[in-house]
Amino acid sequence: MTWIVRDLWLIPALPAFAAGLSALARQRNRGFAASLAIGSMGLSFLLALCAFAHTLASSGHGEPAVKVFNFPWLQYGSEWLKLGWMLDPLTAVMLIMVTFVGLLIFIYSTGYMAHDENFTRFFCFLSLFAAAMLGVVIANSLLLLFMCWELVGLTSYLLIGFWYQKPAAAAAAKKAFITTRIGDLAFLIGIVWLYSQAGTLLFYDNGAGCLEHSTLMRLIVQTTCIGMAASTGIALLIFAGAVGKSGQVPLHVWLPDAMEGPTPVSALIHAATMVAAGVFLVARVYPLMSAHGGVNLAPSSTTALQVVTWIGAITAVFAALIAVAQDDIKRILAYSTVSQLGYMMMGLGVGGVAVGMFHLITHAFFKALLFLGAGSVIHGCHEEQDIRRMGGLKRFMPITFATYAAGMLALCGFPLFFSGFWSKDAILHAAQAWSISRVPFYLGSFGALLTAFYMTRQVYYVFFGESRLARHSHQSHSTDAEHHAHGVSDSPHESPAVMTMPLVILAAFAILLGVIGTPAWPWFDSFLKGEPATFNFAGFLESGILRVMLFSSIIVILGLGLGWWFYGRKPIVSAEEPDALERLQPQIFDLLRHKFYVDEFYQDTFIRWNGWLSHVSDWLDRWIWNGAVWAVSYFVLGLSWLARSADTYVVNPGFDEGCRTVTAGGKLLARLQNGRTQNYLRLVGVAFAILVAFLIWSGVQ
């Protein structure tokens, strides 16, 4: 056990410490809070690098190298509840990703939030979030993971509602919190069930952990109500938690609304890290998911994984469809995030951990890049978020445009040179090779087409054509101060270097990250599996890889072309003119713009039922329980009245009599007390004389 494994807890502890300190800090000293947060994040990044290097050194032979450090946490009855953290390739990769992206986004935020008066609070929350997320990543116990998971949810709530004076933000925060709670409830039930079955919540406890062979065997053989294995039930419950956290259908509704929060938050939490936590969770418990009794069927076809796959595929297409018709720059990205998460889930389902995680990592980078770019755009256009009011920004903010384009191409998966291409391609290939059905493959391809399409649409709207930026007053929220701060210069402007620099870095990664996962050199895959990576071009030639690559490239090009056909051919002149698609298919477009009316549906069903229930319980409370309480209270009042009368007419007179006697005695004695000091002294003298006399007298005889 090397120091890095033993002291892995430092990685989350540092940001937590920073959060605590900046919580104590006064609202004024911003520099303190920012430098604290960034410094702690940087340190965590260095530590994460150490951890990564350590795993890199210890991997490369056979099974993935899992190092764990467990400690007893609290005792109840006879047994100890143990917590712990672990270090394996998955953890290491996630650590690198979270700390690095987080660091960049922190730096970016110093520029973006520069004029917010709650700067300090913002960084306190951010650090807290980073701590919780890292905790999720390193947790070796489902319990510890759940704690940090909830903490993540809390910080997400706080940060979405950061501009709580905006009613929309407050509502969105509540929505996000409650929606994710639904998933988390299932998650908790799953945990409890797992504990009752397996007797431990540690993932790896050299043989005794719940993800290790013996336990899994025990879980498989037990069957529950409808004939499915306990492992499947638990896996599905846990997956429900993942669904809630990473916005899969049907719990996706909160994620787009969460864009009410500051853009860095959207980038960090709702694109790069937290929403990926669900995927990470599934990848973490993958052994449980893929546990199956029979030997004959492939690991990727257990019931749990089938569910994962279908949900992922449906989400991918569903969200992509919605994204086509959105106008808010951030909402488009949000829906694309949802659909990409769907991709990851699908990848996990069909292709195993490596496929899904690879897309997670690449997506984290380019989606963070896109969000930060969007933030820069919004910043530049003075809080304008409607893409119809932008346009022609290519001239004003070249750096942003370049980086944004890179991110967009990566997201679309433009062939060969962009990371997105390789990750998505891996998923598609796995889907195509899936043994159960081909439908996910088609869905995924369609999703890819849509992705390319709506990203093109967005880019054309935002960066090309004439500037349609409204000259009148902008929608104003808490950053009014900002306008006054850097005087109202209405023409859009490039953002400061502190914001563009992270963009550039992220763009570089968005492009280059692909090389670690090409079929020719599947380093990432083998790193997670713990095998030495080999380099051979034969990777391209094996079954159907080239075909899939070709196919997806064609799809992407097609999507880009369609986007150009609809939006690029003739530039959009005015903000009010209807969308090209809208002109073509009004009803469908309307349906898409209203997100398939999912929100309304929930509004009319669950929330209304909930209202009725609350009414009923309110009535019960008011009339049944309340009545009982009143009865008891009157009874008590009667008793107390009895007691009081007894007191007044029986006890008091006796005491009064006693007091009168005492007073009389006091008066008698008080006569001795005539305030003349010398009398007192004389009394002392007399007493002394008597005393001595008595002593002598007693001594004489």
Partner: protein
């Protein structure tokens, strides 16, 4: 009559004089002086018993005298401060007139 006895007699005399002053004078300051005299008488006793007592090398009596001198100093300071503030309130130091504590 042995020196110890004479010492004790002297101290008894001092004590009596002090007590007389404390009891019979009407000026508060003189009462205080009387008390000081009584304390001194006590000191004399300590010294006498140290000098003629069974084991003088223990120095107990002397120590006791030292401490009681300290106590006497403190007592004098506080007492005089009291008298001064008393005088400031009721423009007199005649303790016959100061009997507002009558019960």
């Amino acid at each position: 009559m042995t020196p110890l006895t004479s010492c004790l007699l002297l101290s008894a005399l001092l004590f009596a004089i002090g007590l007389a002053g404390a009891l019979m004078r009407r000026n508060a300051i003189l009462v205080l002086i009387g008390i000081e005299l009584m304390l001194n008488a006590a000191n004399l006793n300590f010294i006498a018993f140290w000098r003629y007592g069974p084991n003088p090398e223990a120095l107990t009596g002397m120590m006791f005298a030292i401490f009681s001198i300290g106590v006497a100093a403190a007592e004098a300071a506080v007492g005089l401060a009291l008298i001064i503030s008393l005088y400031r309130h009721t423009k007199t130091t005649n303790i016959d007139e100061v009997n507002s504590m009558r019960g």
